[in-house]
């Protein structure tokens, strides 16, 4: 897929994220829009995962630790053919498997996440199993910057370094906002890079909306032999919709009809500009 095709995909994904959130009248809008370009690169360029190989023990693993931005994951999984996209019309409805956090009831989902600080330990377990069996699959997990104060992240970071898990890549969706304010105001975890480096990780920064940069960075994995890799993806919460960008209230805000119209108009303009 060319970078231009990926850019178009992301616009389509953003449209669908808003459409299904609007339909369900619920969702984590801002964070889904901040991480969607990362998911685009992962599923369309990096991961060896498809509906066809999903039961293979050799598939790459993707665990979404920031489970609340599940709408972004659903839209990408539907696009990759894991399930019919119309299933998403049931999102958050009675008896639907498409609930507000990922579960394995949905094909393509590796783990039931939603409580924060769980993705990295699970990913570490997967990566150790791969090393034990000399398997070549890689393990990716996406964390929110707001979940970094969860102690399990740091416990698992130690284990990842201890076991030299260079088959593991954690990505932080660093949009710098969480439900109560900026991450710096709530619980300042900066400098994230130095902390992980001190924990024995190899760390790189990337613009989480720049496809060329992300493709290049993911292509450089593992950043160092015998070290787990961390990608700090600098993103914009609400990216792609002017009135949502960097606005706290869109953490789980749902657009109304008028706001949807404006967003769709902006997506059309963005599409024309690609």
């Amino acid at each position: 897929m060319t970078v231009n095709e990926m850019k178009k995909k992301s616009i389509e994904y953003r449209k669908k994220i808003l459409t299904y959130i609007y339909g369900a009248n619920a969702g984590h809008t801002g964070g889904s829009l901040s991480c969607i370009d990362i998911l685009n690169v992962l599923y369309n360029h990096v991961l060896n995962v498809s509906p066809g190989n999903f039961s293979s023990p050799d598939r790459d693993r993707y665990i979404q630790s920031k489970g609340h931005t599940v709408e972004a994951l659903y839209v990408v999984l539907a696009d990759k053919g894991f399930f019919p996209e119309e299933d998403l019309n049931t999102m958050c409805k009675y008896k639907s498997h498409y609930i507000g956090h990922p579960t394995k009831k949905v094909k393509g989902v590796e783990q039931n996440t939603g409580a924060l600080g769980h993705g990295l330990p699970l990913a570490v377990g997967n990566a150790i199993a791969a090393k034990m069996d000399d398997k070549k699959f890689r393990v990716f997990t996406l964390l929110g910057d707001g979940e970094l104060p969860e102690g399990t992240n740091w416990e698992a970071a130690l284990t990842a370094a201890q076991y030299k898990l260079d088959n593991l890549c954690a990505i932080i969706d660093h949009n710098k906002l969480q439900i109560s304010g900026t991450t710096a105001e709530v619980c300042d975890t900066s400098p994230i890079d130095a902390k992980f480096e001190n924990f024995g990780w190899a760390v790189r920064h990337v613009d989480g909306h720049n496809f060329d940069e992300m493709i290049k960075t993911f292509g450089a994995l593992p950043f160092e032999k015998d070290k787990p890799s961390l990608i700090i993806a600098h993103t914009v919460k609400g990216k792609g919709v002017s009135y949502m960008e960097n606005q706290l209230k869109w953490h789980h805000g749902v657009p109304d009809a008028k706001q949807m119209e404006i967003a769709m108009q902006e997506f059309e303009e963005a599409m024309a500009a690609v």
């Binding site: 023990p57 693993r61 579960t103 394995k104 590796e110 783990q111 039931n112 996440t113 939603g114 409580a115 769980h118 990295l120 330990p121 699970l122 990913a123 570490v124 377990g125 997967n126 990566a127 150790i128 199993a129 791969a130 034990m132 069996d133 102690g151 399990t152 416990e155 698992a156 130690l158 284990t159 201890q162 076991y163």
Partner: protein, 324 residues
């Protein structure tokens, strides 16, 4: 490897020792058997395991939440992961990981709570697990097992290894005499073992309290001519409702015994079933009451709360007085 046979009242080893030897036996034949430890290989008697199978042990360090999360990741990638940590820490500190990463995500981790109940005695309540049955019973997709003797422990480890669903095993470090079952059918989770039969009263006990229940039953027979049934209800969930119902209908009174809070454990599980099935009998839950636990060794604590030959015999005599 020494096989553990069902054996009458011989002086046994600690169930913890049997866990270790059984796990080694399994690991020898299956490289997917993995022990995950939180600096607990010593207390889990897993030092020989680590020496023999260095590639089949994952040391996490003292971080129980990470222990369970990593074990769930190992299990989801095909490993038969035994997450071994003192029951007190495993089921309290790592409860959210047990709930989400193991039970909800359906990753077949074998959670092994060692030195359970009040095994740590005088180390105090930080090191006691008197809540684990209660909290785990309320979590969907969890089998809960407390083996009574070496035989039940060995069988439980083997069954757990073969299980494709989450399971929690808990046991202590005291030497446990073997208990003979009346029925010699194969050991299975969810099927209690009848250790002794009698029609006056029943002791439905679990884990390390089955032996004192059996002692009490022998004493009742000898001193009072009271004949007691003794059941090792090793599986707390799913509970053996058929055996419970049959026993309750046969006997005049029931005493449940557990090394656990009297709240939310075996006793309340039995009471709930019986009452909801209109089986009303004289009934007593023996366990650790809801108070600041008395200090002392495991034996001291058992004796203090009547989890002993004389204590349970006395409770039985008193309870039978309430039978109309």
């Amino acid at each position: 490897m020494e096989a553990v046979a069902e054996n009458t009242m011989v002086k046994g080893k600690a169930n913890l020792e049997v866990f270790s030897s059984t796990l080694q036996e399994l690991a020898n034949a299956d490289k997917n058997i993995v022990a995950v430890t939180s600096d607990s290989r010593g207390s889990g008697k897993l030092v020989p395991f680590a020496q023999k199978f260095p590639k089949q042990i994952v040391e996490i360090g003292i971080a129980e939440q990470n222990l369970v999360g990593v074990a769930a990741g190992l299990a989801s990638a095909g490993k038969k992961a035994f997450a071994v940590s003192p029951a007190c820490f495993l089921t309290a500190r790592a409860l959210e990981q047990i709930k989400n990463d193991v039970a909800y995500s359906d990753n077949p981790v074998k959670l092994v709570g060692i030195s359970a109940g009040v095994s740590y005695g005088a180390l105090g309540s930080t090191h006691h697990s008197l809540h684990d049955f209660a909290v785990l019973r309320a979590i969907n997709n969890m089998t809960i097992v407390a083996p009574a003797d070496n035989y039940e422990t060995a069988q439980s480890i083997k069954l757990a290894a073969a299980m494709t669903k989450p399971v929690y095993l808990r046991f202590g470090k005291k030497n446990m005499p073997g208990l003979d079952a009346v029925d010699k059918s194969p050991f299975q989770f969810g099927k209690g073992r009848i250790i002794r039969e009698g029609n006056d009263i029943a002791f439905i006990a679990t884990g390390e309290t089955v032996y004192p229940a059996w002692q009490a039953a022998e004493k009742l027979s000898k001193d009072f001519g009271i004949e007691a049934t003794v059941i090792s209800m090793h599986t707390i969930k799913p509970l053996d409702y058929d055996l419970l119902e049959a026993t309750a209908k046969k006997c005049k009174a029931i005493i449940t015994v557990e090394e656990h809070s009297i709240f939310g454990g075996l006793g309340e599980a039995c009471a709930s079933f019986l009452l909801q099935n209109q089986i009303v009998k004289s009934f007593q839950i023996v366990g650790i009451p809801d108070e600041y636990t008395v200090t002392g060794s495991q034996n001291d604590i058992f004796n203090h709360y009547g989890i002993s030959e004389t204590g349970l015999a006395k409770t039985a005599v008193e309870l039978l007085k309430t039978v109309k």
